[in-house]
Symmetry: C2
Subunit: 155 residues, 2 copies
DNA sequence: CCAATTTCGGATAAAATCCTCCGAAACAAC
DNA sequence: GTTGTTTCGGAGGATTTTATCCGAAATTGG
């Protein structure tokens, strides 16, 4: 509905890393297989997040990725700026090139508060918080195995 | 940020038709040139909206498209169901196949209220309301001509 | 140094979305 | 009926997004 696959993978991967002991590099292969996403593609995304100064990357035997110091405080909005670009918040709902308070599309007035709410929540949700939510066991980062999935839909 | 081009074109076109005297067919060509969107592509979209029982279409000399009776009461959500499909509201923000109150992604609890708000607003905004907003002159359906655009950015 | 492992970077493929073209069918005016 | 206009329907092209592949560079351990 809102996020590209690229963004979803990026967020999932970062939360996953945040659930792991900080400082210990996590392999791309491990992340991809845990999340069930294509590892070659995820590798590209990870590379990008490195360039965005969110991750450290180490090559070779004890290589992998880990969060930079302080990166657990990163809000989702910041991540989306890298993966979706600034147009994510700037673009008009109806696709007008220019749509501001001064000259707006007919949805503008109703949409603006919603957009602000979205941005606020995405800013508020940090990797740290989300990782904790996962660690608590109350929330999942990956799909249920298909066996369980079939079972739960039967209940 | 949220809507495909197809959806944006569909909404724009429908609002445009709603601003015109009801019952008088509007040419696809006219809609496309007014909105500044590719007319062959818009034609496909219009065709789809016909199949969704939102529009009547007439071929030949006095042909064109016009809203079905009562279609002015259609909310944007209903239109998006045709153009984006039901997954538009159903999909998980983080991309999980299954994400419900029972078993959820770490964003679920925060996201759900937002999603509901979005759906509510999209349901509330009908073609009629949006057409009136445009007719009032307070809101625009198309981009400003580039000459004016340059001028406004200079102020 | 050598072998194994991992990320890096570029090229390329596959799929989805966006967009175009064209002949056919329907319709109005003459 | 003929001509001109418009939508219909299917085929196909272009672009963007998603995904794969592979050789090179970096790193560790023997």
């Amino acid at each position: 509905m809102i996020l590209s696959r690229t963004s979803q993978y990026a967020i999932q991967a970062l939360i996953f890393i945040a659930t792991r002991p900080s400082g210990e590099p996590v392999l791309n292969r491990e992340i991809a297989s845990y999340l069930g996403v294509p590892s070659a593609y995820l590798a590209k995304i990870m590379q990008n997040l490195c360039k965005g100064n969110l991750l450290y990357s180490y090559r070779g035997r004890l290589g992998g990725f880990c969060l930079r110091e302080g990166a657990e405080k990163t809000g989702l909005m910041q991540i989306l700026m890298m993966t979706e670009g600034p147009s994510f918040t700037q673009d008009c709902v109806l696709g007008l090139k220019v749509c501001s308070d001064a000259t707006a599309c007919p949805m503008h007035a109703k949409w603006l508060p919603i957009k602000q709410k979205i941005v606020a929540i995405l800013n508020d949700q940090t990797l740290e918080k989300l990782a904790r939510a996962v660690q608590s066991g109350k929330y999942r980062l990956t799909d249920l195995p298909s066996t369980l999935l079939a079972a739960s839909s039967r209940t």
